[in-house]
Amino acid sequence: MFRLPPLVAVGLGLSVIAAPALESQEPELVHTAGTDTAHAIASTRALEEGLPYVPGELLVRFKDGTPQRQSESALTVLHSTISPDNASWLGPVLHLSDLNIDDPVRAADTLSRQPEVLYAQPNYLTALRSVPNDSNYSRQWNMNLINMPQAWDISRTAGSGVTVAVIDSGLTTRDGTFGFRVWTGTAFSTMAIPFAKAADFDHNRVLTGIDLQTFGPWQTPAGEPLIFDAHGHGTHVSGTIAQQTNNNMGYAGVANGVTLMPIKACFSAWDVQLYNNHVLNVPRFETAPTGTLCPTSAVVGGIRYAADNGAKVINISLGGTATQPAELDALNYAVSKGTFVAISAGNDALVGNATHYPAFYASQIEGVMAVGALTPTRERARYSNTGSYVEISAPGGAGSFGTANDQVWQMGPNQADLLFAPLRLAPAFNRYSDLGFAGTSMAAPHVTALAALLYSQGITRPSAIEAAIKRFAIDLGPQGRDDEFGAGMIDARATLRGFGVAR
């Protein structure tokens, strides 16, 4: 008989796995800390086979009050060995990995039918959705569109004292050059990969953050966390929220006084390759993914970590089309802890407009908002999902239907330095340049940042933040709420200014 791991003892912290022994070379090699190797291997398989979930993994929540013995009994339908080595708790959700199951969707369905089970779902890989664009211009039309210059007059501290978590592809928070063992096509070679803190951020107000994605976390030779954005999405989103402002360089951030908490929950190609080359000694170039993917387990863990560690606002610019009850649970938990959440509504309007999760859950929770994207002319961006769950709109850029000027611009990792093997044998994470992205991913951080400004101003209840943002939105489309724009376009100045008696 197996035993479920104790709820408190397991959590997110796992034992340190040292990197394979290598000949001593300069620079010193980095290490991974606490990586679940089976999870990483399964995720790699998902990438190779284009699976929408991590094979062999499930997330399950038992009904409240279910005795452990009955919970264990319910899991027998999986016909898999379950032990603390392949089971860990994410709050009330049990993350099972390395299961002997062929089809996680069918296994989750079978498990869901057990009387002790509240829900079970695959560990989905949801995607960050943005459309990169050439970066020759720096034009932040988005700030004027939502009346930020006047809003900054009101909120002079721009959110100082409020911690905002960004659950995304990360933000590079360390300087240094570290040795990674990489595959050159013919042999392994230890290469020096440079890192530099994300440019145009005040790193006195950036927490070290946490790496929850599959192919990490990394440690420097000195044992310090090495968190980096191997894609640019997380840096861009963070920039819209908190890019350093009035510093004669780069771009402005909406809530440029907040403290950022980067939570790396998504991985991209270099995350996979560096791990597989350096840790697993797999001699190959990764060919997938082309974008970034985010396991549900990491997203759920990130939401709970943020809520438990003082974040008052969370940005989630990711999603997919599969239902995510574990994420719904986590969102409810965050709001119960007094944390507001903004979620991108999805970029699939032109390819079926399928309902997007976890954005769909926003309309069920006061204090969580699903955000659609607008172009510079206040039109719904053509890619921006529509539906009953769209609650608010914010600048997201026109994407491929507009010019470079019509995208949302921030500073981000130099994209040429992240070109994938064999174009580059090793990436560099130490140079930053203009980055023009479009997507609901870019819209959500505007709402996140406005929420932080409101929190700083004294509106501290998530449901009240949502109510304020909706109340002062500029109505677009048909009068009143509609499925294209929700309550309309955020108006930062009006929202921060609030009510007098008559006006």
């Binding site: 009006a494 007098g500 008696v501």
Partner: protein
């Protein structure tokens, strides 16, 4: 205080200058000053923004008695000035936003009414009641407003007053007075008054009144 002093001087001036002219008639002009408290009908709205649902202040005016039997005309002025800060209201919870707001209200009340004559023993006591119109100038200003967001408007509505005077010494009367104003059209279409579904700019006031005149 300057407003109160001006009203006092005005009331004395009205009665002093007018009295000789009307000495040969039955018309009896009076000037008066009041000090009292106005309780706003839109109490929740004012409470949310200014922290007060009522406001003490001075007023003044003039009355013309002896027109025909107990008929009188009355015109009164007052002013309330309130400071507060802009807010957001959600589910009855008020969140202060730290943006100063100043509100000035200047009601002008016009009324016609009747003064009652009591028994011989109470001849020095004079109850009265009247009704008419109230014109309220309302000004609300705060920082960071866009066009049209700082309000300077005036509207009129119904007005009622009732009170009692006692002749203290010759030409000087002291009394207490109740006034009620009902003015719509300024509140209830925006701001916190919209959130609270309050549209009455007026309210009721209790005041002490000193009149000078015959």
């Amino acid at each position: 205080m300057r407003f109160a002093a001006a009203l006092l001087l005005l009331s004395i001036g009205v009665s002093a200058s007018a009295a000789p002219a009307f000495a040969q008639t039955t018309l009896r002009p009076r000037g008066y000053v009041t000090y009292g408290t106005t309780v706003f009908s839109s109490a929740d709205s004012f409470e949310a923004v200014t922290g007060k649902s009522s406001k003490a202040g001075v007023g003044g005016g003039g009355a013309l008695l002896g027109i025909w039997r107990g008929v009188f005309f009355d015109v009164g002025f007052s002013q309330q000035s309130l400071d507060g800060e802009r807010v957001f209201v959600d589910g009855g919870t008020v969140y202060k936003l730290g943006i100063p707001v100043t509100i000035k209200m200047r009601p002008i009340d016009l009324a016609a009414g009747w003064r009652f004559t009591l028994t011989r023993n109470l001849r020095r006591v004079s109850p009265y009641a009247g009704a008419g119109a109230s014109f309220i100038a309302y000004k609300e200003t705060s920082e960071f407003g866009g066009p049209g967001e700082n309000l300077d408007d005036s509207k009129s509505g119904g007005f009622f007053l009732a009170g009692v005077d006692v002749a203290v010494i010759r030409w000087v009367h002291a009394g207490a007075e109740y006034r009620y104003r009902s003015v719509k059209g300024v509140l209830g279409t925006g701001g916190v008054s919209d959130a609270f579904n309050e549209d009455q700019l007026g309210g009721y006031a209790f005041a002490l009144r000193i009149s000078v005149g015959r």
